[in-house]
């Protein structure tokens, strides 16, 4: 892929990597948030042949760049699935914030990441940068938008490369309605390749939209279970500080249906991004507990991750380990 020179004001936008506009403009030049960057200085430096570009960018990766991880191990892909604004992206943002502030996964230790900038961009949305917290904007609904985040974790001395995959709630809705929908390619890729899933149930949506929200959740759950095999599902009751406002009957119906759908290969967790005290179970503990549970119940990574064939073993840029 040609290098894209420029910067977008929207911190969620990956246009500098993907070339695709977050606002769905036909060209990046038409987007008011995009500033094209002059390449003069860099070009001049490169002419001297003494400056090299580092092999990874720190930004989120996509399936076609997964090889930077898969050349050293077969990564475990964990996907978040759920409706629009169910808290999928905020869950990842909080996960990294918690790791930054010293909270830990019970059984896994942090050993690095090739997407640190992307993690920080997400976490930054939950910081009080502008006197308030913005929360991550809804994930773009382009069918070819991928936002894969990497964590290198160790359990004992064994390395586990984890890739967390995110796609928009709109895409999952299309996929739930029609699994062959032409605009749900990323949802299909995630469903096919992920080794484990986080299925988000938005307590706030259940509180306000009631049966409509319940139907949307169960539609996605029913689609997710197809060809699921033994892949575990963590049911995440998000915005759980509102769960007491969800009608008991709705909760009961959802729980019963989930049991029918997923049988024994799932577990339920309640999470929130609004802690009242520190530590608070819903925020500081359950976010990490959810991932820890999934990792412990994931048997083996999917085998379909694209591999990069390395012909030159001495190539320093292809030799990331």
């Amino acid at each position: 892929m040609d290098e894209i020179k420029g910067k977008c004001k929207n911190p969620n936008c990956q246009a500098h990597i993907t070339g695709k506009c977050y606002e769905h403009k036909d060209s990046l030049d038409l987007c008011p948030n995009w500033t094209a960057k002059s390449a003069t200085t860099k070009t001049k430096k490169r002419k001297s042949n003494t400056v090299f570009t580092i092999a990874w960018t720190g930004d989120a990766i996509a399936p076609d760049t997964l090889n930077i991880i898969s050349q050293r191990s077969n990564p475990t892909i964990i996907a978040s699935v759920g409706n629009v604004e169910a808290g999928k992206t905020s869950y990842f943002a909080m996960l990294y914030l918690l790791l930054l502030s010293g909270h830990k996964l019970e059984d896994y230790q942090f050993a690095g990441s090739l997407t640190l900038t992307a993690w920080d961009r997400l976490a930054d949305k939950l910081r009080y940068n502008k006197g308030t917290v913005e929360f991550p904007a809804p994930t773009p609904s382009n069918p070819d938008y991928y936002h894969l985040l990497h964590l290198a974790l160790k359990k004992g001395s064994k390395l586990h490369d984890i890739v967390l995959a995110d796609a928009s709630g709109e895409v999952f809705k299309l996929w739930a309605d029609n699994k062959d929908d032409e605009n749900a390619e990323n949802a299909r890729w995630i469903h096919k390749n992920a080794s484990a899933f986080l299925l988000f149930i938005d307590c706030e949506a259940l509180e306000t939209k009631k049966a409509i929200a319940r139907a949307e959740i169960l539609d996605i759950a029913s689609r997710l279970v197809e060809d699921l095999g033994k892949r575990p599902v963590a049911i995440v009751w998000s915005k759980a500080d509102r769960i007491s406002h969800v009608h008991d009957k709705l909760k009961e119906q959802i729980k019963e249906r989930l049991k029918d759908i997923f049988q024994n290969s799932y577990s339920e967790f309640e999470v929130t991004n609004y802690p009242n005290i520190d530590p608070e179970e819903l925020c500081h503990e359950n976010n990490l507990k959810t991932l820890n549970w999934l990792l412990n119940h994931t048997t083996q990574p999917s085998n379909v991750v694209p591999e990069l064939e390395i012909t030159n073993k001495d190539d320093i840029f292809l030799n990331y380990r």
Binding site: P11, K45, F52, A55, M94, K154, D278
Partner: protein
């Protein structure tokens, strides 16, 4: 012939690299410590101004950002032949490495040939940020957060990325814990902190993910932490001592578990041998 041990010092601009190197040169020239030059360094002119400033009781001025010279001190410590190399005198290339993600081939050579890394981190340069997991909006407002700050990668992510890049070019794998290549993270301008925490407690409390990254990539005997006050305190407080005893007598190290101030700058080097 056996190669000398090559130690590189790396730190962002303003992390006290110049002051440390200048004070070290003064200590070596003072001949009071078990450290000496194997031969006269090729070029100490880049430290000349800084040494003169220290001798006249002044703070060392910031190094111009366009100064890309490499400082190399050929040392002998307790019989060990050591090359102490500061590849990025001004610290600008570190910023470049992390922002534009470009690396000079000279750096790659130095990394490949290095045996130990000393990373300078100045705690008072680190950004304190408040987030939804740790503070309420009222608490955050009370400490006046920047009103319209542009996104900047966090200090911890930056430090982890720096080590990831160095490890990548040194071909150290995540799968295998690193034993041979030693790492020392040095917290500089240590006198600027309140002194309640030891260097080890400081990193565990203030930079916990950076600590976890190190502990899961290096063997427990191959990484350590230290505090460094190359200036020895605020210049107004140490000025008289500078004039009477010489500036190098005020500079000190704090071991990772605390204890007395140790007025021997070569200890940073012996820690990674």
């Amino acid at each position: 012939m056996e190669q000398n041990t090559s130690i590189i010092i790396i730190g962002q601009p303003g992390t006290s690299k110049t002051t440390y190197l200048s004070q070290l040169v003064l200590q070596v020239e003072g001949k009071k410590k078990a450290i000496k030059f194997r031969n006269k360094p090729d070029d100490l002119s880049v430290l000349k101004d800084a040494i003169a400033q220290l001798r006249s009781g002044q703070e060392v001025q910031a190094t111009p950002s366009d100064n890309n010279e490499i400082i190399k001190l050929p040392l002998s410590i307790d019989g060990n032949e050591v090359d102490l190399i500061c590849p990025d005198y001004a610290g600008e290339q570190i910023s470049n490495l992390l922002e534009s993600r470009e690396i000079d081939v000279k750096w790659i050579d130095l990394i490949v040939n290095s045996n130990a890394w000393i990373i300078f981190v100045r705690p008072t340069q680190l950004t304190v940020s408040y987030d939804i997991s740790t503070k309420s909006i009222q608490e955050a407002e009370a400490v006046k957060q920047p009103s319209d700050a542009e996104f900047q990668i966090s200090d911890q992510s930056n430090l982890i990325e720096l080590l990831q890049i160095l490890r990548h070019y040194k071909k150290l794998t995540v799968q295998q814990e690193t034993k041979v290549l030693k790492l020392l993270v040095t917290f500089t301008c240590w006198d600027e902190l309140d002194g309640k925490d030891t260097p080890l407690e400081y990193i565990q409390k203030q930079l916990p993910l950076f600590y976890e990254y190190i502990a899961n990539n290096w063997n427990k005997d191959s990484f350590s932490f230290a505090g460094l006050s190359a200036q020895g305190g605020k210049i107004a407080e140490v000025k008289e001592n500078y004039e009477i005893f010489g500036p190098e007598e005020s500079a000190y190290i704090v071991e990772q578990n605390g204890g007395d101030n140790l007025f021997d700058l070569s200890l940073l080097i012996t820690k990674v041998l």
